[in-house]
Subunit: 231 residues, 2 copies
């Protein structure tokens, strides 16, 4: 039955995501989602407690997919665990997924009140951006500048990354940079600010880094399908 329920949850999330992007948070009703997903309205509340939780799940599922991509890249190339490489990929992956792009660029048109709802917090919290586990691992393996402790990044790292996302809606039309070029600027800034000049081999840390992001992905995946599914 779990397979059925998971498939059904995904179908509902697919519909919710589609309508969210086309109509914006405010206009999407539970009735409409239920109708298009071919389920009764009550069924949706078997998966998520509130409308807000449902839309949080839409974001969480996307975040999990993105984190999987990140982890896979790290397994394919250990160099990807370096902070600037990771954040470069993070930026590109987030920008190419409409739901995450809306969240990170704080697209008021799409998200409306969902922007300030507490349910969304975990999605743009620093935890998603760079967990302490990950930063600790970098520090252990000499992938942060000499003397830089993970908590030293608590303020500046999210702040810098946030700038690159939040400025998006304010960019004048003359700026013709593509996502790759923007990501390069971000990566360059982070590398010079936080990383050592001569980076050591990444291989010894790659496995654990990938595991960290896979675990994070699982956490978001679990959150996406609500507490109501259970065993």
């Amino acid at each position: 039955m779990r397979g059925d329920q998971s498939g059904r949850a995904d179908r509902i999330l697919d519909v919710a995501k589609d309508l969210l992007l086309r109509w914006g948070y405010r206009r999407v009703t539970i009735d409409e989602i239920a109708k298009r997903a071919g389920v009764g309205k009550g069924t949706i509340y078997l998966h998520w407690r509130t409308r807000e939780e449902l839309f949080f799940a839409v974001g969480a599922r996307e975040a999990a997919a993105m984190l999987d991509a990140v982890a896979a890249a790290m397994r394919a190339d250990a160099g990807e665990i370096r902070l600037h490489r990771y954040m470069r990929r993070f930026f590109l992956e987030a920008m190419r997924r409409p739901v995450l792009r809306a969240i990170f660029t704080r697209d008021a048109e799409t998200l409306d009140k969902f922007l300030s709802s507490p349910a969304r917090q975990p999605l743009q919290g620093a935890k998603l951006l760079a967990s302490h586990d990950y930063l600790g691992l970098l520090a252990e393996h000499g992938l942060l500048r000499e003397g830089l402790r993970p908590e030293d990044l608590d303020y500046p790292l999210p702040t810098i990354v946030f700038g690159f996302f939040a400025i998006e809606p304010l960019l004048p039309a003359e700026v013709t940079l593509g996502p790759e070029e923007k990501a390069d600027h971000l990566a360059d800034t982070l590398r010079r600010t936080f990383e050592p000049a001569r980076p050591p081999d990444c291989e010894p840390a790659a496995e654990r880094a990938a595991e960290i992001f896979e675990r994070l992905s699982r956490e978001f995946g679990d959150a996406a399908y609500g507490g109501n599914d259970g065993s």
Copy 2:
């Protein structure tokens, strides 16, 4: 007569600034400003064409004062012209002036619709942040990293600085950093990202740098007092 008019304009701007900070843009009426400044409503329109221009003038006057402080600091210590020193001061000066802080942190409560009004654009445009003249001067004197051209900063520099301002309203209460520490993080980021490891002497460029900011200050000052004053 010019002295009288300038004093009157300042009195009006003082009142407008005071009410703006206490009530927010939306609630402040021209009538109230006129009453408290002890002038007729029509008199205000002798100085500025519209309400929007008046409030722009409030910001422009603050910006001019800030730029004066910047220029004075550069005259007192040539090292202040270095990009990270300048932006450190810029951040601190902007954060300690309530009007500029509201503008740069995009304080919706205070600024309301003024946030999206076209009149405000010049105040947070890249021109105020770092004019091409200034960046060109830095480049000429080897105060930018080898191979870095002024236009290479067009995207990343405002983006990074913007991040430090825009994240302010989103900072959780746990962040106990003071303005100085935030400014230090910003400065450190900019120095490592854009400046050479061994900076040359700043003295030869200091005079011209100060002049650039003094000129910029004058431009903002002129803009503040409207086109209606004339000769």
